[in-house]
Symmetry: C2
Subunit: 642 residues, 2 copies
């Protein structure tokens, strides 16, 4: 296996303060418990007890709720690894044993299939999600090994993986699961326990996809990427989470196999997907109907699905590509997506979630009831739990295991990919190195790096310079002259004495952004970004009675930095005088800019929207309304005979 960057050992990075450390604390104190309580309440944990008991029972929830329990266990495992919390360890062990009790003699483990009163095993590969659930169990086992502990769940996972190898391996049936996930999970399990059969099986699953082994479904074979083999595809397509998990698994296989062709195929698909099928937030998957990408440049703000799980899956893929290639622009995407497409999901109290992450809420949603499950994308406000509730547990496991996204290394260089108050302790060329990073980022662009042990000769620390800072970032090491890029990376080179300090300054002023004109739905609109954050405006910050549908932004107006956002000059459009047919020979509402009221309006981080009650919200705001044009009076019409 050759990758450009290697991950640091577990525990090497400790997030200590600021945005992500706070989120990890909230995850540990609230989110994990919230998920466990809900899954006890709705019976998804109870499914395992009933399955173990062996009597006919009514399975609670959709077919794949086992995976939610596994993702919760993965979050717990990562959290235990992070903090050594022995109370949580006891909860983890107890829950693991309930899961283990449901495993069958053959190794098979699923609460919704295979018992005499249930559908037979593997009878519905298109929708049954059996291998998908197994994959989440494998990831949990791998996380458990990474956290330095073992236990019953690792054994359960190995027995299950052996069963899958027998059923679907080289001698087994030529088939894949309707929902990719097991591919990346098998490689993770292989890396954790070393059984090469798991890697072989992952390779097989990746190679089999796209060859039409799945039966036709309403949404077509692209929905589960069974239309084109991974090596031959041009762009990510179909169900976004499926496409991204599959790609992550393909990168894992490519890296293990030194398969440049496979890696290159996924890289090219990723580039095209970013260029044509990604929201400003990094969110992926435009369509509600089948949670799919949709066509190139089909990116309507007001119907952005941008599922939280797709954001997480995108981070997983981008991080894998970063390690495989060393290209820091992948870390840009990780950062954009984490802040704007993943962190957005969670309510500030940690007890409710967005499943879909729209970029334009036209009408203020109602408060969803806190005491029952909700549909996925109805309300316009976060819900405590969903009928299909993949996002909350996915968020919990992702937040618990954030640290590896922040740093990696080569033999002689420590790469710092993200900015936060943290400490990295690792070894470069045989010497221990420690970096203490201190920053108020993303509200403050000053990043201070302390090297209590210094930095040996012929080693270095590489700092990513985010794309928006490329022209203006500066790095000062000790009393040296500032190093000013443009560069994708700024480097601190050894030798440096113990106690050495370096200061990175990133320009964190708000800026207007426009979209490629091929994105029809965003034509003539502007967004505001500040550092890595996409900003948004909510009607709770507008004068009484005005919604975000009634404003236009003046691109020539000033943008004032407010620390955590921006003040933007907007113009309130007068309400339409009457209800009339909305298509006209002349531009409608040709409002002189001097005729409308101007306000300074606060735009805040998008990821925090919807935390102050029902509200309208938009990321993209129209520019000035159209002025009367020659169209109205001088449109030339000629008649010719053709």
């Amino acid at each position: 296996m050759i990758t450009a960057l290697e991950p640091l050992p577990p525990g090497a990075v400790r997030l200590e303060d600021g945005f992500w450390a706070d989120l990890q604390r909230l995850n540990a104190e609230v989110v994990i418990g919230h998920c466990e309580e809900w899954m006890l309440r709705v019976g998804w944990i109870g499914n395992f007890d009933l399955a173990a008991a062996g009597e006919p029972f009514e399975h609670a929830g959709i077919e794949f709720v086992d995976s939610e329990v596994y993702k919760l266990l993965q979050a717990m495992a990562a959290e235990i690894g992070r903090t050594g919390d022995e109370v949580l360890e006891a909860r983890f062990t107890a829950l693991s044993e309930r899961v283990a009790a449901a495993q069958e003699e053959s190794g098979y483990l699923h609460t919704a299939f295979g018992r005499p009163w249930q559908r037979p095993r593997y009878s519905d590969l298109e929708w049954g999600h059996e291998l998908y659930c197994f994959g989440h169990l494998f990831q949990t086992a791998a996380a458990r090994v990474r956290s330095g502990r073992g236990g019953v769940l690792v054994d359960v996972a190995r027995r299950l993986a052996d069963h899958v190898h027998e059923e679907f391996g080289p001698e087994g049936r030529v088939a894949v699961c309707g929902h990719p996930e097991i591919e990346l999970a098998l490689v993770e399990l292989y890396r954790a326990v070393g059984d090469v059969r798991y890697l072989d099986l992952a390779r097989l699953f990746v190679a089999r996809r796209g060859r039409g082994t799945l039966k036709p479904i309403e949404f077509g074979p692209a929905y589960f990427q069974d239309d084109v083999p991974v090596r031959e595809a041009e762009v990510l397509r179909g169900h976004a989470v499926r496409a991204l998990y599959l790609s992550a698994g393909a990168v894992d296989v490519a890296v293990e196999d030194d398969d440049d062709e496979l890696l290159g195929a996924v890289r090219a698909q990723w580039e095209r997907t970013l260029a044509r099928r990604t929201y400003l937030t990094g969110g992926m998957g435009a369509r509600h109907q089948d949670e799919s990408f949709g066509d190139d440049f089909e990116l309507p703000a007001d119907r952005a699905y941008a599922e939280t799980c797709a954001g997480i899956a995108s981070v997983m893929l981008a991080h894998r590509l970063l390690l495989a290639t060393g290209d820091p622009t992948y870390a840009d995407t990780v950062e954009r997506t984490l802040f704007n497409a993943v962190a957005c999901s969670l309510r500030v109290d940690g007890r409710a979630f967005f499943y879909a992450n729209t970029l334009h809420q036209r009408t203020a949603g109602q408060r969803p009831p806190e005491d029952r499950v909700n549909a996925r994308a109805q309300a316009g406000l976060r819900s405590p739990w969903f009928e299909v509730s993949c996002c909350p547990t996915n968020l919990a496991r992702t937040v618990a295991e954030l640290a590896p996204l922040f740093a990696s290394k080569t033999e002689r260089c420590l790469h710092l990919h993200q900015f936060a108050s943290l400490t990295v302790t690792t070894e470069l060329a045989g010497s221990e190195v420690q970096v203490r990073m201190r920053t108020g980022y993303p509200d403050d662009g000053d990043v201070r790096l302390e090297l209590p042990l210094g930095l040996p000769e012929h080693t270095s620390i590489a700092l990513r310079v985010p794309s928006w800072a490329r022209a203006e970032a500066t790095l000062v090491v000790g009393g040296d002259e500032p190093v000013a890029p443009p560069a994708e990376t700024l480097t601190i080179a050894g030798p440096l004495q113990p106690g050495a300090v370096a200061i990175l300054q990133l320009p964190l002023l708000p800026r207007f952004v426009t979209a490629d004109p091929r994105i029809d739905a965003l034509r003539g609109q502007l967004a505001v970004e500040k550092g890595p954050l996409v900003l948004a405006v909510e009607d709770v910050d507008l004068p009484n009675g005005v919604t975000v549908n009634d404003i236009a932004v003046d691109p020539a107006g000033q943008l004032h930095d407010t620390g955590d956002g921006a003040l933007v000059t907007v113009r309130m459009l007068p309400p339409s005088a009457q209800e009339s047919w909305p298509y006209h020979r002349q531009p409608v509402r040709p409002i002189g800019l001097d005729q409308v009221t101007t306000h300074q309006v606060r735009y805040r981080p998008y990821h925090r929207w919807g935390n102050r009650g029902p509200t309208t919200m938009r990321v993209w705001t129209p520019g000035p309304p159209p002025q009367p044009s020659p169209l109205a009076d001088e449109q030339q019409i000629t008649s010719t005979s053709t």
Copy 2:
């Protein structure tokens, strides 16, 4: 019952030549037979035979396929009334008898419910569509009576309606059907056979809706308009076909009851729906996921659902409002919707249909297989039949009974609402009047009216002036001076001698149209209309290799009339040099208009798109790409402490 306009007796209007007469011929010769063949093949007609046989059977198709058979029968009934085709009469009778054989002793008639091996009657009012199917049978019976014939189906319908009255009437259960339709159908049946209990029942169903009698579903109660009572609603919402059928039924009840409050409520909802939730084509229902209207101004061209059935339902509602109020602008909507949201569905050979009517096809669809059923909105090309196939039969019945949309009257005035080569024979103030209209409309704006019997004193003929012609239409009666509006109506007043002639001239030149700026998805784009037709561009009319995603239109350019469309000056945008992140601090692709190639491109009637093989298509074309603006260089950013 007081309405502003009364419908003419069946047979009073005969469409003789041109667009609609051709469509009626195609409907009679191809579409009706196509629908019958498919429903024999997929077993939807066979369901009735199996139900009649009384043995357990596997029901073919979704729960409501009975209604497709009924709509086919309605099309046949109307066609028999139109032409007196006795061969079709024999087919109608044979099929009616197969339906009748499945009716149960109680009057109940549904092939998917109520037998010992099926779900119980009325056990799933939310999704079962039982009363919906009954409604379509009632409409068929009413059409049969209107066509001057009776037969078994009228008796079957009455027995069924009596059963429904018993089950759901004043003494029955307080419930409604998840899919409105029975409301308008009961009023039609009442008008046909005179039993006032049917009107009473319709009134009850309208009044009960919106009071939460239906159980919660994923899409919320607005989906089937059970969120707010009809009298209290502000705008049409939820599933578009459901909302429109319900409104049509409410107007029918309001008219029968002289209930101005109810009529006024629906009118106000309709105005707001046209102003905020309607595509340029007249199409309604933006969302694929639940076939619903969506939010105000959520009208993306590339995800326009605009179901054919919603277009038909909109015509039904608008025509009812026209008769109820006499306001000719309702006839404008009927015309726009018929040409652009209904006629669009049918392939030129009459053997394939659009279910959804998008306004922007970004990628050329594949030819759907002609020999099997297809999903509803996948292909980008018309399909011969669908798994849920409401649209083909709805189109067949609508086209067969088009004539009543063209004219109505008061005691002394004949109102001509639409333009086509036709003859109307009726009676005004006791005298027979005949109007022969001759026109090449909509390709030609000259409309010639001949009055072979003249026009008695104190009578008149009122001609609608379409909104787009209001400023420039002229009417010349005999050798008189032309009457030039602006007016919504131009009037030919009696007395006139036998053989009198009047000429109406409507300006039929192509014109650019822009959208209300609140429709974010259409900002900065232009459409081209010509007369009542929305035009569209397809890549088959562009230079080789160029798709409709690569063009911009110059609003200052000339529009050449081509007879059935327009030549439009467009600029081909060069393909993007590379795949890169599509959001930028500066406007991208700031192309000087002199730097790109200009072409004259043919825009053709939207309703004909997709008849020349797979193609991209758009109705709305972007204006010139953004020029470099002060934004790029002079954007001011200031930092303040707040």
